[in-house]
């Protein structure tokens, strides 16, 4: 999604109030943005704590500050700066974390970002944007840039089956219609299930939704989705994020507040940093039971 990110930011670059800070990342990707923004493109060096506080101060001065790094260096290293300097003041700093989930899988555990939006959404005023498809980036950047609050954009690698027509961006989208279970996913991992779900017979084919914006207090679950959950009596949530504090918890709390209690609730999630070996994103998804076969064993069952 980096190319699409760069294109979307270049579109926005004519805004004189926009500044972009990178933690020394973006080689072979963000050069067009650097060219477009000139002095407003700032390589803040390998110093993420400083970079986030600098961005907070720039936002306090009325500038639209975007901060970019590999995801864990964007939210974990400078967490206190995000909390104290950005969130406590409700400053509209936009944090972009590249490589959400296990995208940097074989690079090792320091590069995994599997507790990012959960951790950040504990902070006041914070919004999270999780584009699913490469085609979502223009809308994602526009929406993240427009909210008057701190925001985190989790980038991944868009994955769609050949010939799939990506539906227009919306905070909630139903990607598959069927008569089977109800499934909700977050992020590009949703694309990995599309072929399998679409090939199921209608009675097993799930009603499959993706959500791109959290928390749900700003993006409530659609009525049609809630009705499907009531009708099916079960729900599966899939996310490349640890169990605690992620989408599963968010959905469960939202449903509880609405008096909805499906008899079955299945949560597919990243299984933390517990593996003895490392590998690609696909490998680590498999280790976590997020692979298509494992998910189908539940979703595709009578």
């Amino acid at each position: 999604m980096r190319k699409q990110l760069c294109d979307a930011l270049v579109l926005r670059a004519p805004r004189p109030e926009m500044v972009f800070l990178t933690g020394d990342l973006g080689f072979m990707a963000l050069e067009p943005l650097q060219d477009a923004m000139q002095e407003r493109f700032i390589n803040a060096g390998v110093a993420e704590q400083n970079m986030v506080s600098v961005a907070a101060a720039m936002a306090r001065e009325g500038l639209e500050a975007w901060v970019y790094s590999i995801a864990p260096f964007c939210y974990a290293r400078p967490f206190e700066q995000i909390r104290n300097d950005v969130a406590f003041h409700n400053l509209p700093v936009k944090l972009i974390g590249n490589g959400g989930g296990y995208a940097y899988g074989v690079m090792g555990p320091t590069h995994h970002a599997i507790e990012d939006y959960g951790v950040l959404l504990t902070l006041p005023n914070m919004r999270a944007f999780i584009p699913v498809f490469d085609e979502d980036l223009d809308a994602t950047i526009d929406r993240a840039g427009t909210v008057p609050n701190p925001a985190y954009v989790r980038l991944g690698r868009g994955e769609i089956p050949p010939g799939y027509a990506v539906p227009a961006y919306a905070p909630w989208r139903q990607l598959v219609h069927g008569g089977g279970r109800t499934v909700i996913a977050a992020g590009p991992i949703a694309g990995t299930y599309l072929s399998a779900f679409l090939s199921l017979p209608e009675r097993l084919r799930p009603n499959f939704w993706v959500v791109c914006e959290l928390p749900l207090e700003h993006n409530p679950m659609p009525a049609a989705l809630l009705e499907q959950i009531r009708s099916a009596g079960s729900l599966c949530v899939i996310e490349e994020h640890v169990r605690r504090g992620g989408l599963g918890s968010e959905i469960a709390l939202f449903m509880a507040s609405q008096g909805i209690a499906p008899a079955a609730f299945h949560h597919f999630h990243a299984r933390a940093h517990h593996f003895p070996t490392y590998g690609s994103q696909t490998f680590l998804r498999g280790q976590s039971g997020l692979d298509v076969e494992t998910v189908l064993a539940v979703i595709g069952k009578e």
């Binding site: 500044v19 110093a47 704590q49 506080s53 907070a56 101060a57 700066q81 104290n84 406590f88 003041h89």
Partner: protein
Amino acid sequence: MHFESGVGHIGGNLSCLDALLILHHEYIGASERFILSKGHSAGALYVALWSRGLVSDAQLAQFHRDDTLLAGHPPAAGLPGIRFATGSLGHGLSLAAGTALALKLKRETGMVYCLTSDGEWQEGATWEALIFAAHHRLHNLTILVDHNNLQGFGRTADVASMSPLGVKLGGFDVALQTVDGHDPEAIRAALEVPGNTCRVIVLETRKGHGVSFMQDRMEWHYLPLNEQDYRRALLEIEAQ
């Protein structure tokens, strides 16, 4: 107010009070910005703002009490003259550098002043900020260091010495000065020296300055005043 509220941090408030009063009365106008990186000296900042009429008597009387804006460290919003909630050390200098760079990008004038403690330079983020400020030649940034040589649980030289701190700071591309932080004329003279890069003024100060039994005593980093100490301190200060 510390006595009435039963709170401490008096020593580090007294060490920087002279500089804070000079800054707020003589140097900080509508175009300037001030960031208190050593947020535990909020009391001294509130007094400086009160003496300029930016904090009311009633607000000051609520210091450190329930439902107050005047918390033990600067609040996130609600008080003119305070731009950021500080109190976790090592944040203020980055905030000041970001403010200074933003003003440059906006083609606005005005100096950004940032007051740090000396122990605070043990925080790695302060060095990240100094690298950034020096690299961007933020001539509109003035960093003041309250060099009182004492921190929360010992003398700075004994805890994690950076001595001589000025040499370390001066190793960057900054305009460094060291002055007596309790000599108003010396402070003013340092603030008048222009620079084409960021200015660093090390204020040689004494913790608990002005009260004999507090001066240069580590325990007054945290201790509150009892009534006897309070009366004695008042007599001493009035006699000066």
